[in-house]
């Protein structure tokens, strides 16, 4: 395993001087993921915070080949790139005779919602790329609206907590499970606080042949209304409350839970840490808190049972 020092000594393909907010998790995630392969990378980036903050003409933060066109098509765009790679390779016409790796990046709006059809299509084609979703649980780029990654009860600008409504009334989409059901070789959830896990998963994602999907929690200080210095702390709280389980799924079904909190904390700890949930901590909204706890427990128990099944299967083999 790499040490942080060794990782830091690798070339940073993401230049300093970007326009992302102070305390934003995305650069932390990205710098780890970009270091997880030694091959030159080609990146297709969906519209969102990362694209806005790193490719504002005439500046660019990208020291690698990078393309952005729209919010809903980054995977399809990458399919064209990989097809051209195969085509020029077999004709001996590649501009540089080197093996390349391919990385698609999108926020949760681009991944769960607008670009989902494009992503599902590319997964069905078994494209050999890594898909990185930085999941800040809302449309942060456009000012903090609800997406299907937004958890129930969160106050966003399109699901504001008001006198009558207590924020978003619908639960989030479990995208990692949806991606896993495409039977792709590798799906993983991680977060920036557990950097060794995130690095290892990114390395694994680049290694497997076929599509690999990384769903990484990306706390957004600006829209979650947390201090810029608390990004990593809040991300860890998500794992300790099991709101954001850290796990991986190989070949569609083989589940491993990579982090189990010594003491599973109640979800209220997580809710208390962010002002977007503060309205939930009243008596009349207790039912939502209970519902959130129920959903978290249900997913956590399911993951543990799937892991148990997987371990037994491995023993039987």
């Amino acid at each position: 395993m790499m040490t942080l020092k060794e990782l830091a000594s690798r070339e940073d393909l993401f230049a300093a001087g970007h326009m992302l907010c102070p305390g934003c998790s995305i650069p932390v995630i990205l710098k780890l993921v970009l270091r997880a392969t030694q091959y030159p990378l080609v990146t297709s980036n969906a519209t969102g915070c990362l694209e806005k903050g790193t490719a504002h003409f005439p500046r660019s933060s990208w020291k690698l080949n990078w393309i952005h066109t729209a919010v809903g098509n980054a995977p399809a765009s990458m399919s064209g790139i990989t097809a051209m790679y195969r085509s020029l390779k077999k004709q001996g016409r590649l501009p540089v005779q080197k093996e390349l790796k391919f990385l698609v990046i999108g926020g949760d709006r681009a991944t769960y919602d607008s670009g989902f059809q494009s992503l599902s299509g590319a997964l069905a084609r078994r494209e050999d790329f890594v898909y990185l979703c930085y999941d800040n649980q809302m449309c942060a780029d456009t000012g903090g609206q609800s997406s299907s990654a937004t958890p129930i009860g969160a106050s966003t600008t399109t699901t504001p907590a008001g006198d009558v409504l207590p924020g978003k009334l619908l639960s989030r989409k479990n995208i990692s499970a949806v991606i896993a059901s495409h039977n792709v070789p590798y799906v993983a959830q991680s977060a920036p606080w557990i950097w060794k896990d995130l690095y290892r998963k990114a390395e694994k994602a680049f290694e497997v042949f076929g599509p690999a999907y990384l769903n990484v929690l990306s706390p957004c200080p600006n829209k979650w209304k947390i201090p810029a210095s608390k990004t990593i702390e809040v991300a860890k709280l998500a794992a300790d409350t099991c709101v954001w389980p850290i796990y991986e799924i190989k070949d569609g079904t083989d589940v491993t839970v990579n982090y189990k909190p010594k003491q599973k904390l109640p979800v209220t700890q997580w809710l208390k840490s962010q002002a977007r949930f503060k309205h939930l901590l009243t008596q009349e909204n207790k039912w939502i808190v209970n519902k959130i706890q129920e959903e978290v427990d249900k997913e956590w128990d399911l993951l543990l049972s799937l892991e148990y099944k997987n371990q037994n299967k491995m023993r039987d083999n």
Partner: protein, 395 residues
């Protein structure tokens, strides 16, 4: 001596045959009536080893054109085909393709737009994309579909143009109608089109590029006006390529075909397969001593306003026949743009707007003869019509 062969083919087969000969590095496929047989034939060429292009089989129009963007930006030659709902679902991305100056070529079998859902020919799909920054060629028959597709690559990839090209033929009327046509020798076609020279490649790890930045009010304007340069250069290049094509293969192409226009005092202006019917009508009326002609527009973008003004301004009257729905304006897109082209002419004809053939409604010799008769009577009375007339519409 060119070893061309005469074959019987429909427009889709002729398009697929041209694509087989040009052999793009990547073809993105997606079924959409009536362009589906183009991608079916290309898929079958690949399955049988008759071309070695990489096929990307996508799930939607938007993914098809997005795949083309990625492939083209990766530094190779690309093709896709579409029509109607498939084409307009590409709308958002078509603009980006042109702005990124990617020389993609798309074959389009023109079809009406929903609702009501309709599978048949009209130009509303291509006209919905007329301002997305692509060059647009329109074809009368399978021969032109074949010839225009080959020329499209040479124009799009010209270093001063570097702009995508859409080659349109009428759905079913051309895409599915078989006619005799010349297929040129593959070696000759390749020599004519030439090798693809990328300006940059996303696969060139030694020269990384950032493609598709965002630009605010400080730079956006410059980007758009720079983009226009490709379209402006295309005016010259389309003519050069059309002449070169004629010198090599014997069939010459310009912005438009002026049929029996030298001494005409009245003319019909249109695009696409109805030109055949219009030529027959002109021939018949000529035997009766009528001085009528036809102007068949081939290049809609860039719109050849200067040349159209020179060719049309001395006429007494013209009927402009649009095959698309352009609600809330004084005519179809062709009519409105020709009127604009004529505005600063010293002498100009009376212009009569017609709309015909929506959703595949037939137009016949009698219809066009009726139009010639009508504009003659109206212009003799010096009667100006601002109202659009619809041909063959039920009462």
């Amino acid at each position: 001596m060119t070893m061309r062969v005469m074959k019987v083919m429909d427009g889709n087969s002729a398009t697929a045959e041209a694509v087989r000969q040009v052999n793009p590095d990547v073809v993105v496929v997606q079924p959409i009536t009536p362009a589906t047989p183009i991608v079916e034939k290309i898929s079958s060429f690949v399955a049988n080893g008759q071309m070695d292009t990489e096929i990307v089989d996508v799930e939607s129009g938007q993914s098809a054109i997005s795949g083309c963007i990625g492939a083209s930006a990766a530094g190779g030659r690309v093709f896709t085909a579409s029509a109607s709902q498939g084409l307009v679902s590409m709308h958002e991305i078509l603009y980006i393709t042109a702005s990124l100056r990617l020389p993609i070529v798309a074959g389009v079998a023109n079809r009406a737009l929903s609702a009501p859902e309709n599978l048949y020919a009209d130009h509303s799909d291509a006209m919905a994309e007329r301002n997305c920054g692509w060059l647009q060629f329109f074809c009368e028959n399978p021969q032109e579909a074949y010839d225009n597709l080959i020329q499209a690559y040479k124009v799009a990839e010209h270093m001063e143009v570097r702009t995508p090209v859409m080659v349109s033929m009428d759905g079913f009327l051309t895409s599915h109608s078989q006619e005799n046509l010349y297929i040129e020798e593959t070696g000759e076609v390749n020599e004519f089109v030439g090798k693809f020279n990328p300006v940059f490649s996303l696969l060139d790890s030694e020269h990384p590029v950032t493609v598709g930045s965002n630009a605010a009010s400080d730079y956006y304007f410059e980007h758009k006006v720079n983009q226009l340069q490709g379209m402006l250069e295309a005016r010259k290049v389309i003519k050069e390529v059309g002449r070169e094509f004629g010198d090599r293969f014997g069939r010459y192409y310009g912005y438009f075909e002026a049929y029996k226009m030298e001494d005409a005092d009245r003319a019909v202006v249109l695009m696409g397969s109805a030109a055949g019917t219009a030529k027959e009508t002109v021939d018949q009326l000529r035997t009766q001593g009528e001085k009528v002609g036809l102007l068949k527009l081939r290049v809609f973008r860039p719109f050849p306003y200067q040349e159209l003004k020179e060719t049309l301004s001395h006429l007494n009257s013209i009927a402009i026949l649009d095959r698309s729905f352009n609600p809330g304006t004084p005519g179809g897109p062709l009519c409105n743009e020709i009127k604009a082209a004529l505005y600063d002419a010293r002498q100009k004809p009376l212009v009569f707007p017609y709309i015909y053939g929506l959703g595949g409604r037939d137009i016949g010799v009698n219809d066009i003869a009726g139009i010639f008769k009508e504009i003659k009577e109206k212009s003799e009375k010096d009667e100006i019509i601002f109202e659009i007339k619809y041909i063959g519409l039920r009462d």
